[in-house]
């Protein structure tokens, strides 16, 4: 097997990779924001006492966690047009990823909130605070700290998930690699460059997580 890489060809196709990379980053960012919105709403619902609010949130999370993202993507991709909802594939993707990651974000937020000792709720209740005041002043500020690490992990997952959009012809990073592999008959160069690009993003996010970990430790005396 010829392992030497044809760097000239890689150099020529770099603009395409850059386009793909930008698309991947954009999709991931948009989906991350979407996931935060969906996740916070779902989590808020799952913490309410009345069943009609809690049940949908729980069912939603269970369905998402027990079915593959690709099936969810196809569900929307093939299903939305029957509602007359025609939209660019990239939008379908962002919606699918927001809904998918939203379930995991909901669990992250939930465990962050539940990790706050009960005494905090009791002390704030004892001084007459309303539930909203308790959340805003006491619980949420403390709950944010343990959420950061898992949320960065979810961002990593989103970047990898975005590769699935290549299957519905969105020009993102994996598809850019495919183009090189198929059009120019250079699968090794194409896939290697693709892998390297993903790893750059991966290690970048891991670095962020590490930096946060260090920052968190320093502030431990607070």
């Amino acid at each position: 097997m010829n392992l030497s890489l044809n760097f000239r060809v890689i150099g020529e196709t770099l603009p395409d990779f850059l386009t793909g990379l930008t698309a991947t980053v954009t999709i991931s960012l948009a989906a991350f924001v979407g996931a935060l919105v969906v996740g916070v709403i779902a989590c808020a619902m799952s913490l309410q006492t009345p069943r009609y609010l809690r049940a949908p949130a729980v069912v939603y999370v269970d369905i998402i966690r027990a079915t593959p993202l690709l099936a969810q993507l196809y569900f929307l991709y093939f299903g939305l047009p029957s509602f007359g909802l025609m939209m660019p594939e990239i939008m379908v993707g962002i919606i699918a990823f927001s809904l998918n990651s939203g379930a995991y974000v909901s669990e992250i937020v939930r465990s962050g909130i539940l990790s706050i000792p009960r005494g905090q709720l009791e002390a704030s209740a004892a001084s007459g605070m309303s539930y909203l005041q308790q959340m805003r002043l006491i619980i949420l500020p403390q709950a944010l700290r343990p959420m950061v690490s898992p949320l960065i992990g979810q961002a990593i997952v989103l970047v990898k998930d975005s590769s699935l959009l290549s299957l519905i012809s969105v020009l993102e990073l994996t598809r850019a690699g495919q183009t090189l592999a198929i059009n120019r008959f250079m699968p090794v160069e194409g896939l290697a460059t693709t892998a390297v690009c993903y790893l750059i993003i991966y290690y970048g996010l891991k670095l962020m997580a590490y930096a946060w970990g260090r920052f968190n430790q320093v502030g431990a005396t607070r």
Binding site: G119, E122, A123, A125, G128, M129, Q133, P141, T221, R222
Partner: protein, 241 residues
């Protein structure tokens, strides 16, 4: 001021509070003691609604505690000091003390800060305004917790084993603050094992066992001539040290 009438509470099948009858008058200091599992913590937690009861009635300053609509307003008049302090770790001592003043009593910030500082000085922590709970000792944290409750100018102060989580050398600094409060005429219910405190300031001592009140008497009578056998048993166990 506080009236328990036939109060009943169950935790599942466990009858934690059995037909409790007790009156606490204004300015009175009542100490509640008993073995663990006797229901004394549950009793005091019912007063400000941290625990709900199923039977009987509990009226505080004319308001029934079971009526949840008035609970928040009632809680503004009740100070509660926890065994585990429960200070807000992300806020300074001063912020801990003024938080409820600003957001619940809706006091203007400057006024709240002034009052907070005064109270922190009163409990002996005038140099710790900007310290975070993690930087304070247990005794100091509990004193901040007391100041936090006092700041709301409550009519009644409730203490749930305030010194049980403290190292021995810090117990006295907290008890001294509580003695001061009693001498100032505050209505207090204190769940505690600190019998020296009871002897010094309690108007009455209540002994609870297995969910009911076994004996209620004045401190001198309680310690020297307990009427009930179970009371005698309990006293002999804890007074040995």
């Amino acid at each position: 001021m506080i009236k328990f009438s036939g109060l009943d509470k169950w935790f599942g099948d466990h009858h934690v509070l059995q037909k409790i009858d007790l009156d606490v008058a204004k300015g009175e200091v009542v100490v509640v003691c008993g073995p663990s599992g006797s229901g004394k913590s549950t009793l005091i937690r019912c007063v400000n609604g941290l625990e709900k009861y199923q039977g009987g009635s509990l009226v505080v300053d004319g308001i029934s505690v079971g009526d949840s609509a008035n609970l928040r307003r009632l809680r503004m008049e009740l100070g509660f000091v926890f065994q585990q302090f429960n200070l807000y770790p992300h806020k300074t001592a001063l912020e801990n003390v003024t938080l409820a003043l600003i957001y619940v009593r809706k006091l203007p910030r400057q006024e709240a800060i002034a009052r907070g500082k005064e109270l922190l000085r009163k409990v002996g922590l005038g140099d710790k305004f900007d310290s975070y709970p993690a930087q304070l000792s247990g005794g100091q944290q509990q004193r901040v917790a007391i100041a936090r409750s006092l700041c709301m100018q409550p009519k009644i102060m409730l203490f749930d084993e305030p010194t049980s989580a403290l190292d021995p050398e810090m117990i006295n600094e907290v008890l001294d603050v509580m003695v001061g409060l009693a001498k100032d005429g505050m209505t207090m219910i204190v769940v505690t094992h600190e019998m020296g405190f009871a002897r010094k300031v309690a108007d009455r001592v209540v002994f609870m066992d297995k969910g009911s009140i076994v004996e209620v008497s004045e401190p001198e009578t309680f310690f020297t001539a307990p009427k009930n056998e179970r009371t005698q048993e309990f006293l002999s166990k804890i007074l040995r040290h």
